[in-house]
Structure formats: C-alpha cells, structure tokens
C-alpha cells in the first residue's frame, strides 16, 4: 500500500496544471467563478482548446483519438480541472454517444461521427427518458417504424439537457413491440435535429433556468443507416452508455474544490460578531462533511485502483453515485447556511459578464448559492435516482 504518486504521474500532473494555468480562457473562468451560465460558444471554444491539447477523449481508446490515460492520470486530471474551476466537458458527445459508436457502430458511422465529437464540431443531446417514465427506462413508448430505408419516429423524449443547442440527438426507440421482455425490441438511433418533425420545447426548472427540454418526434424520418449496431439491441448499448455516464460520478475533485472554497469563505466572512468558521455548529458540520468527503475520495480511489487492475467497476459504483450526489447536496446546503439571508436575492440580471455595476444590487461572494442549491436537488434524481441505485446494490451486491 502506498499513498504516493510515481514521478511520471507527478510530471503529468504538473503538465496538466500548467495547461489549465495557461490555456483556460480568462473570460470563461470569470463567468464560472461568478456563477454565470456559459453559452454554447463558451463550451465549444473551451472544448476545442482541450481537443487541441489532446485532452478530450479521456476515456477513449487511443485508436479513436483517446488519451489512453491510466485511472490515476484521469483522477489527477479531474483534480486539476476542478482546482482551475474549469467547466466540465459537455458529456453527451464525448462521454455518451461516442463510446457507443466506437463500440457498436459500423466503420462508416465511426468515420462520420467520431472526429466531429472529439473536435466539438457537432453538439449532441440525449433522447432517453420519456414523460412519466422516470427511473423506469424500459417503459419507453417512442416508436421507430421502418418505412423503406427510413425509420419514422413518433414520441416524446424529456429531460434532454442542453438540447436547445444540439445538432444531433441519440435516442432509444421501440422498433419491435412483439417481444417477451420490455427491454427487447429497443433500438439505438442517431438523428439530425434539423429533421422535419423534430421540435424542442424548453422545460424551466425549479430555480428558473432553461437547461432541460422536451424533444418531440412527429413522423420524423431518419435514414436506416443511422441505426447503431443491431436492431432491437439498443437496451444493451444503452446500459453501456449509462456506465460511461457514471464516469467520475462521485465528483470528488469538484467537491474537494468546493469544500476548500467554503472554508475560505467561512474563515473570511465579515458577517456577524465572529467568522462562521469559529461558530461551533457550523464548524461541526464542516468537520463531518470533510470526513465524509475523505471517505468518498478513498472509496473512489479504491474503485479506480480496481479498474486499473482490470476489474470492471461493478454495481458497487452505485455507491459513488449515491454518496457523490449526497456530498454535492450537502455542500450546497452548507453554502446556503453560510450565505444566510444573502441567499435570498434573485438577481438574474447581474449574471451576465457585461452587467453594469448598477445591476449588481447585492455584492455577495456567492450570488448563485440558492439557485445552485435548488437546481442540484436534481442530482439525487437523475442518472438513475438514488433509490434505484439502492435497489441495484441490494440486488446485485447484497444478493437481496
């Protein structure tokens, strides 16, 4: 057992650290620091910089342009990225549909789609969930009916994150209803968002933001060549994709960064008679949170180590989803408590980089505290709710 990193790993970390110091654009950094929502161009510009340095396909095999990094390298990269407060890569292309295409797609699909994904030339979105289906993914109703060399798609997908920006969508649709199990007869299909019959309707979330959407398909005709793999095997591919979605699901690096920043805030806070850090109740919660985060970090590292020795991350990784999102929400709550009544003002107008000084009505160091708290209640719901994760552990790990 050994806590230390190899000299090669340390060299890698230094290289990555230098990259973030030098290449992460100041204007984007400023937006992220101030809780201003990034627009599409910000994301694309930043991802193209990552791609130029070969930092995009973190989980991809080298043959498709991936980094080929070890788990430790990925971990170190995530820490440096969090410490730079750089935005996460939008996952739908590179972390979701990409792996499905290089694993199950045909040669033509690989050549057509993969380079544009790595280079962020095409914005992808996800068509998985359906209204009313919730965590019961297999209940999906969207139909793709073969008509000559097209599928005619009808149905509605929901919770489609950043779908308003997307040029392409990958979706699960039912191509066969005459099946023994609901998981059968589902296919994995790629669709150009400009296809007639595809429309996007915004869903406004609890905090007032537009991040997710409903995507409607009304007789949308998609070429059969956009089917990935075999017809009817979409459920299997989708599960693989879900595993990739869970990459870095623990969010340890971000949470470490946020905890450190919270401690700074609590130490320097001008509110009240003494800094929050010296108030026993808050301090006790900080300690408990730091202990839980250390436990999560080492559970994550143990999983990484198991992956490094060739063991696939089993259903145990559901722990990382549960504890990772609990940690995010715990931090959100502590930020709320630190903000006190400064969590109250709702001043979206000041969330633009070029807002006049006069728009900044409340000079709070964490102006989006409450918005984040409310928005991230979703963390324990999406990606398979934490209840579903517990069912998975109960069944597949504990044998109940």
């Amino acid at each position: 057992m050994d806590l230390s990193f190899t000299p090669e790993e340390i060299a890698f970390r230094d290289e990555v650290r230098a990259f973030f110091a030098d290449e992460y654009p100041a204007d984007i950094r400023e937006k992220v620091n101030r809780g201003i929502r990034l627009d599409k161009d910000d994301h694309v510009r930043w991802q193209k910089i990552l791609a130029q340095h070969g930092y995009m396909g973190v989980n991809w095999p080298v043959e498709y342009g991936g980094t080929g990094w070890s788990p430790v390298q990925k971990y170190l990269f995530s820490i440096e990225m969090a410490n730079a407060n750089a935005p996460d890569v939008v996952p739908f292309g590179v972390n979701m549909v990409g792996p499905v295409i290089y694993s199950y797609g045909n040669e033509a699909q690989k050549q057509r789609f993969l380079p544009d994904i790595l280079e962020s030339n095409v914005w992808w979105c996800q068509g998985y969930s359906e209204p009313g289906a919730g965590s019961d993914l297999a209940s999906l109703k969207t139909m793709a009916v073969r008509d000559g060399d097209h599928y005619v798609i009808n149905g509605t997908k929901t919770w489609t994150t950043l779908g308003q920006h997307a040029e392409w969508i990958f979706l699960l649709a039912r191509t066969n209803t005459d099946v023994a199990r609901r998981q059968e007869g589902i296919s994995f299909i790629l669709a150009d968002m400009s296809t007639p019959g595809i429309t996007v309707r915004p869903i406004i979330t609890i905090e007032g933001g537009h991040e997710v959407n409903e995507v409607h398909f009304e007789d949308a005709r998609v070429p059969v060549e956009n089917l990935v793999g075999e017809e009817g095997r979409g459920w299997t591919y989708g599960k693989v994709l879900l595993q990739h979605e869970r990459t870095n699901i623990a969010g340890v690096a971000r949470s470490k960064y946020r905890l450190a920043r919270l401690k700074e805030l609590a130490s320097s806070s001008q509110h009240g008679a003494k800094p929050l850090m010296e108030q026993a109740t808050f301090r006790g919660k900080l300690v408990a949170t730091e202990v839980a985060l250390k436990a999560l970090e080492y559970t994550d590292l143990r999983t990484l180590a198991a992956v490094a020795t060739g063991k696939a991350p089993g259903p145990e990784s559901s722990i990382l989803k549960i504890k990772g999102t609990e940690m995010q929400q715990r931090l959100d709550t502590l930020y709320m408590e630190a903000a006190g009544y400064y969590a109250l003002p709702y001043v979206p107008d000041q969330f633009t980089l070029d807002a006049a000084d006069d728009d900044v009505v409340v000079d709070s160091s964490e102006p989006t505290t409450a918005l984040r708290y409310f928005n991230y209640r979703k963390a324990s719901i999406y990606g398979g709710s934490n209840e579903i994760q517990k069912n998975i552990i109960a069944k597949h790990v504990l044998g109940l």
């Binding site: 919730g134 979330t205 509110h271 408590e337 109250l344 209840e387 517990k390």
Partner: protein, 375 residues
Amino acid sequence: MDFSISEDQSMLQDSVARFIQDEYDFDSRQEAAATDTGFSADRWREFAELGWTAVPFSEEDGGLDGGAVELMLLMEQFGRGLVVEPYLPCIVLAGGVLKRLATEDQKATWLADIIGGEKLAALAYAEPQARYDLNDVAVTASADGDGYVLNGHKTVVLNGGSADTLVVSARTSGERQDAEGISLFVVDASSAGIKRKAYPTVDARQAAEIHFEQVRVGADQLLGAAGEGLATLKAVIDDATIAVCAEAVGIMQVLNYKTLEYSKQRVQFGVPIASFQALQHRMVEMFMIYEQTRSLLLHAVMTEEADAGADAALHALKIQIGTEGRKLGEEAVQLHGGMGVTWELDVAHYFKRLTMIDTLFGNADHHIEQYPLAV
C-alpha cells in the same frame, strides 16, 4: 392546558382557509408573483377589507386585538396558499414596531393607513455586516437640530421596494455591536436621500437594498426613547419568527399531502410508488416531522401568549423548521422525482419558500448557538 381555539379564532381560521382554497389558486399566485411588485394590489385590498391587516393591532388603534394564536392561524393558511402579499413585512414587522412604540399622533400619521391597507410599510433593520445579530447596527442617526440625519446601508429589506413607509433602526450612540444606543425611526420612503434598489427573492417575494444618504428626519419620527430600540426590535422579530414558522407549518402540511397524493397516482414498474415500503416509511417520517413541528409551533404560541419566557420555545421551533423542516421539503421533492424540480409544479415553489424561511430571523445554526441550556 388547553389546545382548543375560541369561536372567534375558529371563524378567523375558517375565513382565511376558505379564501385560500376558493380564491387563491396557484396560477393567479404565480401571475401576481411575476408582476413588478411581486404581489397583487387587489388582493391586498381584499385582505384589508376582510380585516386581516387589522388582526394584530389593538382595538384602540382600529385593530382586532389578535395575539400569537390569531397570527399563527392566519400565517398557517398563508403558508398553505403560498401567499405572496406582504403581510409579514408590512403588518408583522413594520406594524409590529409602530404598534408598540408609536404615540397617538404617530399612529394617526403612520399606522392607520397601514392597518387600512392604503399604505405599505417595511422594516429596515438588517445590515450587510450584521448577519443575524440584531444589536449589530452601523447605520447612524446623528442628532441635527431638533431632528436626526440618517446615513448607511440596510440590506435585504423585505418589501423594501414597494413600501411607502419605512421603519428604520439606526445607531444614535455607542459602538457597532452595543446593545444600547439603537433607535427606531419612521420615515417616508420617498424622503430625499433614500436610494432603493428592489429585486425579487428566490422564493418569489421582494426585497431591497436601501441606502440612506443624509436623510433628515424630525424629532417626531423617533419611535420610543432614543437608544432603547433593541428590546422592541427583538420582540417584533420574535413575532415575525412565530409568523414564518406558522407559515412553514402550513407549507409542510401541503407538501405532505401533495407527496402522498402523488405517490398514489404515480406508477413506476407497473405499480403506484406508494406501494414501495421504503418510500412508505419515508412518508411516515415526513408525517412525523410535520406533527412534531406543529407541536413545537403550538408550544411556542402558547408560551408567548402566557408571557412565560418564550425564548427557548422560539429557538426550538426555528431550529426544528431549519433542520427537520428542510428535510421534509427535500424529501417531498425527491419523492416527486424529476417533476419536483420543475418550475411548472407547485411543489417546487412550496419547497423554495420553506427552505428560504430558514434564512429569515436567524437560521437553525444561529438558534442552536443561542439556545439557552440552563440546567
């Protein structure tokens, strides 16, 4: 030891409950909240016509002589309706100071219109550096001739933008955190030197930053004795604490009800999610939290009414709202799944208000630190 309410109290409760149920629907609430002022002036007139704006004032002042019980009954229903009209800032906070300290003349000038619903008021007491310490007052009121000059910055003043009348705490003597030397003034919000920036809050109310720059007030605008305002401020904040806690209890009841109903109709894996035992036990926990919180509310109200040293009771209640109440809200959202985090669903808005109530008048941490643990 009597938990029952009087016939008059019961009538008040019924009238508010009926209004909320029949007329205060969620859609028009959302419409009102989306306006510039964040509430409906028509509704406010109705509140006044129904006598609700008069509830906590004495009969001599033209009020209905209501106490903590009446305030609780009213606010619990306001919680159930998620009422956005500024009852708390106008009637409980600003009105609470005026009814305690104003002279007959001052009442005639400043309070009567508030009770009548013709004018709106706000209490400007919080300051950027003060967090929840009521004694931490940096805004100054310097003697000037036979009046005073106010200078400084009041922050997150609830209803500060719409208010016609401001009640302001300011220091006439002493150091920033001294208990002595805090005075209360009443001023016209349109006075020269007052700069206001109003904004909505995340729970669909309104607040304002208010800057005082050489604002002249007459001696007749001083409320009570100079330098002795803290005790009154504390008494008013205590009332307001009961008020928002009662509102929170009303919200909790609605969240429980809606969660139960949702769980019965929401089907997953072929069965209503209400049939999952793990969720059942969590809804039982929510129910128990609600009942325990309501008990603490009654305890605080009865202690306040009995004038029996309500400090511990109020701390306990506010701690409960900020810890267990928050948990109840989070569970309500979690059990609603994705729908629970959409703007469209009322549950999200009940949850937001419940959560933000913790930030008012000292959050749970603050009250834990203040809790008197005498043996």
